[in-house]
């Protein structure tokens, strides 16, 4: 019986039969359909996934004409992690001139709005210089990262400690207080960057601290769009559904806890977001085939429900890619082709 070489969600190689590969796709799409209460993939789409994942080639790719554009979560960080001693501005040029980047993104090492605030003058200078010597759009990325506003790092009482002592009301009030601080910081930092000429602000890893984190970002975007109507905002999420750390927060009368990508994008659009970046997490104990079927199911419905461009998060541990810092080329190229050709999204 013919076997196909594929990978698990942790990146390890496995060989499975053709019939098992088909079953992985079917079970993956069913899992997404049940969790998100959304349509499963059609038989044609499952067959297309099978064609992509049964290819013996190491890299695969989309048909000519199906290419999409890319936005990144900090093109500087990827270079800095290699300890190559080059400046952040040079990192942007490297991506623009050597890696075919459609856009580049400047970001601080800490990559959080709160951390950027005290060094915003320095960040503005780097950005202004970068905008003079690059041609592609330059985004500035940072995370709402509400966790930094809780003690001991921040000024607000820690909700987790309050919850542990049964103080649920006080915990919720702490979340709400943190939201106010975070909104002020995000609006301040983004405003400064707009004045320096930035092409877009990327609110990355939104929702990492749950529903208060998502609400803070939505409110900040709303204020920014009122202040600067032509400002482009990209919002990238941190997980496939919004964690209910508070549990009762709403935006435009919609409860935030538990929202999936197709519901998140509608609120992002109402707030004024121009590009939405949905996330679907990788399950390491399942195959990449199972994971990608799940990803494509969530993203396809998200793209259908959206009126704004959708750029899927396709990095390590999300988008059907394995959880490893050295992601294999076969796994990346297969997920890339599958997501682009089946969901018809606007970018990665």
């Amino acid at each position: 019986m013919k076997t196909i070489r594929t990978r698990m969600g942790d990146g390890s190689l496995v060989e499975i039969t053709e019939s098992n590969l088909r079953r992985e796709f079917e079970e993956g799409t069913q899992d997404a359909a049940e969790r998100g209460k959304i349509p499963a993939l059609t038989q044609d789409e499952l067959d297309h996934l099978f064609d992509i994942y049964s290819s013996p080639s190491r890299p695969v790719g989309v048909e000519m004409g199906n290419e999409v554009i890319f936005t990144y979560d900090s093109t500087c960080g990827e270079v800095q992690r290699t300890l190559t001693p080059i400046d952040r501005t040079q990192s942007l040029q490297l991506f623009e001139r050597m890696l075919g980047a459609d856009t580049v993104e400047l970001g601080h090492n800490d990559y959080s709005f709160k951390a950027v605030k005290p060094v915003i003058s320095y960040e503005r200078n780097v950005l202004e210089q970068a905008l003079l010597i690059t041609t592609v759009p330059v985004l500035y990325g940072a995370m709402p990262n509400l966790g930094l506003y809780y003690r001991p790092e921040g000024p607000v009482q820690n909700p987790s400690e309050l919850m542990a002592t049964g103080k649920i009301k006080e915990a919720r009030e702490a979340h709400e207080e943190a939201i106010e601080y975070a909104v002020k910081d995000m609006v301040y930092v983004a405003s400064e960057l707009y004045e320096s000429g930035v092409d877009a602000i990327d609110f990355d890893t939104t929702g990492s601290a749950g529903d208060p984190d998502f609400l803070a970002a939505l409110r900040a975007v709303e204020i920014l769009k009122e202040k600067y109507p032509d400002l482009c905002v990209e919002m990238g999420m941190s997980g496939e559904f919004v964690l209910g750390m508070h549990g009762e927060l709403t935006y435009k009368d919609i409860r935030l806890a538990g929202l999936y990508p197709h519901q998140q994008v509608q609120l992002a659009e109402k707030a004024g977001v121009a590009i939405f970046g949905p996330v679907v997490n990788t399950n390491t104990s399942k195959t990449c085939a199972w994971n990608v079927a799940r990803v494509v199911t969530f993203l396809k419905f998200c793209v259908e429900q959206s009126n704004i461009p959708v750029h899927a998060n396709m990095g390590m541990g999300v988008g059907g890619l394995p959880v490893t810092p050295f992601v294999p080329i076969d796994a990346v190229s297969r997920a890339s082709q599958a997501v682009v050709e089946i969901t018809r999204l606007d970018g990665l």
Binding site: Y72, E78, G100, T135, G197, P309, N313, S336, Q337, G347
Partner: protein, 112 residues
């Protein structure tokens, strides 16, 4: 995109499904998504019509490098006396009929 080593992530995605940035017309399509909220199909059609190329040619580095040089839109390996950096953005804004924030600021700074 997302986190990962540069060859495994950014380079692999670029080869598998990317337009190619300034090698082709990727940055121009990106600008239409960012400034007008166009979806990928509409943005590609808009840019192709402005460049007078087909949708396939939009991602072809041979065709696009010639068009970019003719229209002064910037090249990844620019020859002497060609536009570079922000200079190319002036021609891009004019071609696409869009405002670019850094150009607005640049004009203010030089008093233009």
């Amino acid at each position: 995109m997302g986190v990962g080593d540069i060859l495994g992530m950014a380079a692999t995605h670029a080869i598998a499904s990317g337009m190619g940035g300034m090698r082709t017309a990727g940055d121009l399509v990106a600008r239409m998504q960012m400034s007008r909220g166009m979806r990928i199909k509409e943005a590609k059609e808009y840019v192709a019509s402005k460049l007078n190329v087909s949708l396939i040619e939009l991602s072809d580095p041979l065709v696009m490098s010639e068009r970019r040089e003719d229209l002064k839109l910037g090249l990844i390996n620019p020859p002497p006396d060609s536009v570079k950096g922000i200079e190319a953005k002036f021609h891009i804004a004019e071609l696409l009929g869009i405002e670019i924030n850094s150009l607005r600021r640049f004009k203010e700074k030089i008093g233009a």
